[in-house]
């Protein structure tokens, strides 16, 4: 099932949750909607599901108008963040709910329902749990039951709202891997919402980065990570350190000093210099380096230490944090040089 969104706009009073969103999801794709809270990602998911309606714009499933259909008619599987399992029904009845709710002529017989529910429970690896109640399951198990329930109606599209949001880190990782495998098996067009970039990058075929109701970038995980289209995306995905700079006369200036960096074709004006923390080398020669500063703090755990450095930027102090190998000799109070191996410049007004 191919999903096409055209100029979708949704307002809540004066607040614009979605602002002319255009997106195409190919059949069988696994797409992540990634953004900070309030970016409109859940609203977009609910509009695709039919739980919310856009004020303007169109939604098409395989070329046909989805907005003219109610949520029940769209045949969309929806997994809620809070699972929304029916607490008074057993796990079996929860999964069977969608099948039993069908109109009489398309409703499968009791034996068929039983067989299908049991197959789904096997699929989510909870075969023996059919007689239990949701309250008797762990968070991860509930999430899998919610998924089995959504899959029971043989949805044309699977939508997941923060599917791992309420789980602890370890379960979340396992379940993430499991969901990716499941998707590779059943190949249903899937869209999931997350604010966790690691989740989006690891799981999705393509990532849609949203901010304040607008799509900022659509691309493969590699695209959005390696080639961010804007300062926002660079900042939001992966760790970033940024330094406010000025572009003038074809060069990059920090506090009046010209840096040995290329301006990457940017026009004159305010800009931000973005570097990944692990793409900066700390060098002892402070005067010969691109940037220089004073070491303020060292956080030491794990394979690499993180070093907090106050940049030398005229009158102002600007703190950045860079990774330094364990055996680099760094002392607090030492003046060091910083040599970026890769960097990116974005004009300040481009958001």
């Amino acid at each position: 099932m191919r999903i096409a969104l055209h100029d979708v706009t949704r307002r809540f009073g004066a607040f614009t949750a979605l602002d002319r969103v255009n997106l195409e999801v190919e059949s069988g794709e696994l797409i992540a909607l990634l953004g900070p809270s309030g970016s409109g990602k859940t609203t977009l998911l609910r509009i695709i599901a039919g739980l919310d309606w856009p004020d303007e714009g169109e939604v098409h499933f395989d070329g046909e108008d989805a907005l003219s259909r109610s949520v029940g008619e769209r045949n969309v599987g929806f997994v809620f963040q809070s699972y929304a399992l029916f607490r008074h029904m057993t796990v079996f009845e929860n999964v069977a709910f969608g099948l039993r709710a069908r109109p009489r002529r398309s409703r499968p017989g009791e034996a068929e329902i039983r067989a299908r529910v049991e197959r789904l429970l096997e699929l989510v690896q909870l075969g023996p749990f059919g007689k239990r109640y949701p309250a008797q399951l762990s968070g991860g198990q509930r999430q899998r039951i919610a998924l089995a329930r959504a899959l029971a109606i043989e949805p044309r599209i699977l939508l997941l709202d923060e599917p791992f949001g309420a789980l602890d880190a370890k379960v979340r990782k396992e379940l993430r891997r499991w969901l990716r495998q499941l998707h590779d098996e059943i190949h249903v067009t899937s869209v999931f919402v997350t604010h966790d970039q690691e989740e989006a990058l690891e799981l999705a075929d393509r990532v849609v980065v949203l901010d304040r109701g607008r799509i900022r970038q659509v691309g493969t995980p590699e695209d959005v990570y390696e080639r961010p289209a804007s300062a926002f995306v660079h900042h939001f995905i992966g760790e970033s350190l940024s330094v406010p700079v000025t572009i003038a006369t074809g060069g990059v200036h920090l506090a009046g000093r010209r840096l040995a960096l290329d301006c990457q074709g940017l026009a004159n004006g305010e800009a931000s210099l973005f570097v990944r923390p692990y793409e900066v080398a700390i060098v002892p020669d402070a005067d010969g380096a691109v940037l220089d500063g004073v070491v303020k703090r060292v956080h030491g755990f794990g394979p690499a230490r993180r070093v907090e450095i106050a940049l030398h930027a005229g009158g102002q102090e600007h703190f950045i944090e860079v990774h330094a190998p364990r055996n680099d000799p760094v002392r607090i109070g030492q003046r060091v040089g910083l040599q970026p191996r890769a960097y990116r410049l974005f004009a300040a007004d481009a958001g």
């Binding site: 739980l51 949520v71 029940g72 599987g77 809620f80 029916f86 607490r87 969608g98 709710a101 109640y133």
Partner: protein, 332 residues
Amino acid sequence: MTDIELHWDDAFAANRKSTPDHVRGRLSPENAVLPGFPSQPQASRTASMSVRKATRARDVRADPAPMRWAIIGIAVTFLVLFIVVPLLNVFAQALARGFGAYFAAIVQPDAIAAIELTLLAAAISVGLNLVFGVIAAWTITKYEFWGKSVLITVIDLPFSVSPVIAGLVFVLLFGAQGYLGPWLQEHDIKVIFALPGIVLATVFVTFPFVARELIPLMREQGTRDEEAALTLGASGLRTFFRVTLPNVKWALLYGVLLCNARAMGEFGAVSVVSGHVRGETNTMPLHIEVLYNEYQFTAAFAVASLLALLALVTLIAKVVLEGRATNAANSE
């Protein structure tokens, strides 16, 4: 020997020798690389803790024994004097002239008529309030609309208005001199001094019980479950009966129970609209009053004991339901 014991032994060793170096030595592979990492005076801290003698303070939650007993005594005495004794007195008075007189008072035709009318009026009112209460709770918790806060306040109105006024409102509306009186007379419909009036007054007075039980629960549960049912292809009605209603089952029963207790015992509002026609429009509370005013104390208390019995049954059912509901909530 387990890991934990091992650690304890280490700590004791450090303690006895009181050598900070020993402890720091164990930590050093992690810390030495970091310049300026403060040395940890851990060992000495552990030592001072074991030296300090623990003096057990009095539990702050406990008052001195005499005070505790005095407070409990006052509460129990009050309950016995004001609630238990009067209740027992009802039964004692009812049976003062033996079981014969008791049953005679109950099977008297006017008494039977009053009991029947009470049960009928309560059944209709509770049924109506069950439906209206669920609809009101649904409206308030699942929809957003202008004037919602006003509606929430209005639901509580019957609690704050005197029942006599509630009765008078209906007399002014449907009575012979009321706004709709002439029209009703033309069509030969009796509202005031008849069953419809009694039901109207009872519905008014008992309306908040069901709605007020449901609103907090339904608000807390939100609309996620309903949305889930809808995405699974369930119709609106199916969603309501299979998802919404089971979710609020215990609260609903509890509300109905309270509603019923109040409906059967309502005096003020019903008194205004009923007209006190013996054997016709007298409910149990009204019948009791009539008997009492005629100095038929035994008969009055006999009927009163029935009403009290119904209240006790309601109370027991309520306790059972509350237990159920708590269990249901705990198994979330």
